[in-house]
């Protein structure tokens, strides 16, 4: 075992982690621990843009952006946080430009902007051009630019260090975070990082679903670690399904395509979004478009031999727009479906995409241990966190914004906290949990195969807990997940070595996935209403009387099968009263 001592430890090297590192690294001694090599993170898969009311191409202001974000989130958004995000969006984009990000430009040389779902002029009048973009690889350019700036500032990375636990020390004032414990993939060695502050920036957990835009590595590690520590997770039932995944594959096709004018059609060629969202049509928020697509298919108007998808029609955009503004998605359709978007419509269907919920934080990125108290020294930012700026449904582009605004805030807050405090002693045997966990997975205690359990999990989640849910489907999902947890207690891995044991890695990841899937399903069962990304067929309307509040989940005990306690947290309102959500 090895010990290290830093002021700030950041877990994860995607957009939020590296944005935090750029701030923290210039103020305090900082280490970034990452399961993947930097630049491999899934921020790089984001395509369409990052919204900010720059007003470079038409009138816009951050107050409209705030309103759109709150309405888009079906009023479950904490309005103070949304206001901060929309206001700071402008500097967040300008900061990236100054760091070197190659945005597309207007004829005057300013940052160009395009339309995106749910982003409107003057509180819903019409779609507004607010998304700053770099072709359809905006996330790639953000990830590269942030890594480039980490290189510039000499940020210290520990690549392929898989964090499996954090250290919590009990003090007179309550628990304090004092470090993190990592498994080094190259050697199998365990490392304890003693720190004054720790930032989680570990991304989402899309791999609980089968059809997903998420990377194989998005297994909710950070959320899982926090949950196992008895700390809460927030709003986990709200999971976003992106309307336009490549049918059958789930690979993302940006909403920016519709921003540039692409149209969704059913088997009859009808532009069906005109029926569901008469004002902004194909540019309605993702939850509405995804449900509309699912309904078209359920009602028999799906396209293809099995009538199980709809069509994204880009043919009228012309080859030049596709090649210059949407080159990557054009290539994805050609490579993976052998469909050329220039001449044919592309088969698409909703794909599991983004967790609105996560580790609850305040607007400084400090992690909450209950509704009223933070854990000193512990921070979270990006998809793994829930501030909550996305409420029940995130608007497109607001995740790239979230990682930049709240990654920066968490980095500054963690460094300032570290500068103002001394190291608190680590708890006794800080690596004990991780040592036991690794030893258990490697020991012979059963013969269940990790892949079988994971595939069964993903199948039941797709079938029973995706775009539409009912009491029956969710109970089935809960039953399945709990049975899979029992099987997980009897897993075996073939690789018993120490060197790059990715067999072990996948087994550990599956443990987090099972844990988080259960929280999602328990939350979805308890929320007997439909709001944003959570659509209950048996409770089709929003119920503000009973459910205008955040869900908070706590793990009761340490066993994988331990019960989940559900509590609630009030939503913060500033100036927007809930209204019916029409587009």
């Amino acid at each position: 075992m090895q010990f290290h001592k830093y002021d700030v430890v950041i877990i994860g090297a995607g957009g939020a982690g590296m944005r935090a590192a750029i701030e923290s690294g210039q103020r305090a001694r900082t280490a970034v621990l990452t399961k993947l090599y930097p630049t491999r993170s899934h921020t790089g898969a984001a395509q369409g843009g990052m919204c900010a009311a720059l007003a470079n191409v038409e009138e816009d202001n951050w107050e409209w952006h705030t309103f759109d974000t709150i309405k888009g989130g079906d009023y479950l958004v904490d309005q103070d946080a949304a206001e901060i995000m929309a206001k700071e969006a402008i500097d967040a984009v300008l900061d990236l430009e100054k760091m070197g990000l190659p945005f597309n430009r207007t004829p005057e040389g300013k940052i160009d902007q395009r339309r995106f779902g749910g982003h409107t002029r003057n509180h819903g009048e019409a779609a507004v051009r607010r998304a700053c973009y770099a072709a359809d690889r905006t996330g790639h350019m953000i990830l590269q630019t942030l890594y480039q700036n980490c290189v510039k500032h000499g940020i210290e990375f520990f690549n392929e260090f898989y964090v499996l636990d954090i250290c919590m020390t009990e003090t007179a004032d309550g628990p304090v975070c004092t470090g993190a414990v990592a498994y080094e993939l190259a050697t199998g060695e365990i490392h304890v990082f003693h720190a004054k502050s720790v930032i989680f920036a570990t991304g989402g957990f899309g791999k609980v679903f089968k059809t997903t835009s998420n990377a194989h590595t998005l297994t909710g590690d950070g959320m899982g670690i926090v949950f196992r520590k008895g700390l809460p997770l927030e709003d986990m039932e709200f999971y976003q399904f992106h309307p336009t995944g490549l049918a059958g594959l789930g690979i993302l096709l940006t909403e920016g395509a519709r921003g540039e004018g692409a149209i969704l059609r059913n088997a009859d060629g009808e532009r069906f979004m005109e029926r569901y969202a008469p004002t902004i049509k194909d540019l309605a928020p993702r939850d509405i478009v995804a449900r509309s697509m699912a309904l078209e298919v359920l009602e028999g108007r799906g396209a293809g031999p099995n009538k199980d998808y709809v069509l994204l029609d880009c043919t009228h955009l012309g080859a030049e727009v596709l090649e210059t503004k949407l080159p990557d998605i054009t290539e994805f359709a050609r490579t993976y479906l052998a469909v050329d978007p220039v001449t044919e419509p592309v088969p698409v269907y909703p794909t599991a995409h983004y967790a609105m919920g996560g580790i609850p934080t305040n607007v400084h990125g400090e992690v909450l241990r209950d509704n009223d108290h933070v854990v000193p020294g512990l921070y979270a930012a990006g998809e793994c966190a829930c501030v909550s700026v996305h409420g029940a449904n995130r608007l497109g582009t607001n995740s790239l914004l979230d990682i930049n605004v709240f990654g920066r805030r968490a980095g500054i807050a963690a460094a300032e906290y570290a500068l103002a405090h001394d190291h608190v002693d680590l708890p006794e045997n800080p690596a004990a949990v991780v040592e036991a966990q690794v030893a258990l997975v490697l020991s012979e205690h059963g013969h269940e195969r990790v892949a079988d359990i994971r595939i069964a999990l993903q199948a039941t989640m797709d079938a029973n807990a995706s775009v539409y849910r009912t009491e029956d489907t969710l109970k089935q999902a809960l039953h399945d997940v709990q049975a899979l947890k029992e099987r997980y207690a009897r897993i075996t891995v073939q690789d018993k070595g120490k060197r790059f044991n990715t067999d072990l890695l996948e087994a550990v990841e599956l443990g987090f996935l099972l844990e988080l899937a259960e929280v999602l399903v328990v939350g979805a069962l308890a929320r007997k209403e439909s709001r944003g990304g959570h659509a209950r067929e048996d409770y089709p309307t929003r119920d503000d009387t009973n459910f205008m509040r955040h869900s908070m989940y706590y793990k009761q005990g340490e066993a994988l099968s331990a019960d989940i306690r559900l509590d609630y947290k009030p939503v913060t309102f500033t100036r927007y009263q809930p209204m019916e959500r029409k587009y």
Partner: protein
């Protein structure tokens, strides 16, 4: 909608059984270069017979081996659609991303049996099977100052850049640092101290960015004996790039900038 049970929607087999073979699958042989530096003295070849669909990516075949046949098979992967750059490997002798090559493009003609050969990328030390040490590759990247250098006072708004100036370096902004180009380069194979194509591509991305003022420093670095002059224009790198970057052309443009001292 009605509930579907896990039993209906998945194979819940115990260890040893393999998942049901999908309709339309064909059997292919996947021959993989194996080497675990923890236990093995030297590399060997392992072959696996796998049922697969023509639309499967090579990555699917590797997952099949890892998940059902041999859990010790080791490779990197993440996004699975050619964006993260994790799964560069030598597939039938050429550098490709395993998630971007479909089986249908590797099938033998006339329905003859198909064998797919998979090796680690060359020129970087192998750690385990298809997983290599990426550190020398990233070291070369970091050595070319791959970030915007600008000494002028920052404007309050964005720096202006014409669409034409932005277009000038568009191609090289696509790089995902997968190392397909660098590890396809014969010069890099014989002499690992050469920066390699990827590092030069990333230098190009800044040298030709109108907002950047560090071209001179970078060109100094690249005119070093391990720099651009080592390139012998074999075009392997351009052929290997999964992002379609004109890598050799970018290297030529950097050479020209050095010769004529202007960008």
């Amino acid at each position: 909608m009605t509930a579907s049970t896990a039993e209906q929607t998945s194979s819940s087999g115990s260890k040893g059984s393999e998942p049901p073979v999908p309709e339309g699958a064909i059997t292919v042989t996947v021959k993989i270069r194996r080497f675990n530096t923890e236990f093995d003295d030297e590399p060997r070849w392992d072959s696996f017979e796998i049922p697969a669909l023509p639309s499967d990516r090579v990555l699917n075949l590797l997952h099949y081996v890892k998940w059902y046949l041999d859990g010790t098979l080791t490779f990197r992967r993440s996004c699975a659609h050619g964006i993260c750059g994790s799964d560069a490997m030598r597939i039938n002798g050429v550098n490709r991303l395993a998630c971007k090559v479909l089986l249908k493009d590797l099938l033998s003609a006339g329905g003859k049996p198909t064998t797919i050969t998979i090796e680690p990328i060359k020129g970087l030390p192998v750690h385990k099977d298809l997983l290599v040490d990426m550190e020398p590759f990233f070291e070369a990247f970091r050595a070319v100052q791959p970030y915007l250098i600008n000494y002028s006072p920052e404007p309050t708004r964005e720096r202006l850049q014409s669409a034409a100036d932005r277009e000038r370096f568009d191609d090289t902004t696509k790089c995902i640092l997968c190392a397909c180009c660098t590890t396809s380069c014969p010069v890099y194979w014989t002499d690992g101290s050469y920066f390699g194509p990827a590092a030069i591509v990333n230098a190009h991305r800044f040298i030709f960015d109108s907002r950047d003022e560090g071209a001179e420093e970078r060109l100094d670095i690249l005119s070093d004996k391990e720099g651009v002059w080592r390139c012998r224009t074999t075009f392997n790198c351009t052929d290997a790039c999964p992002r379609g970057i004109q890598v050799t052309k970018a290297i030529q443009e950097v050479k020209r900038a050095l010769l004529f001292k202007r960008v």
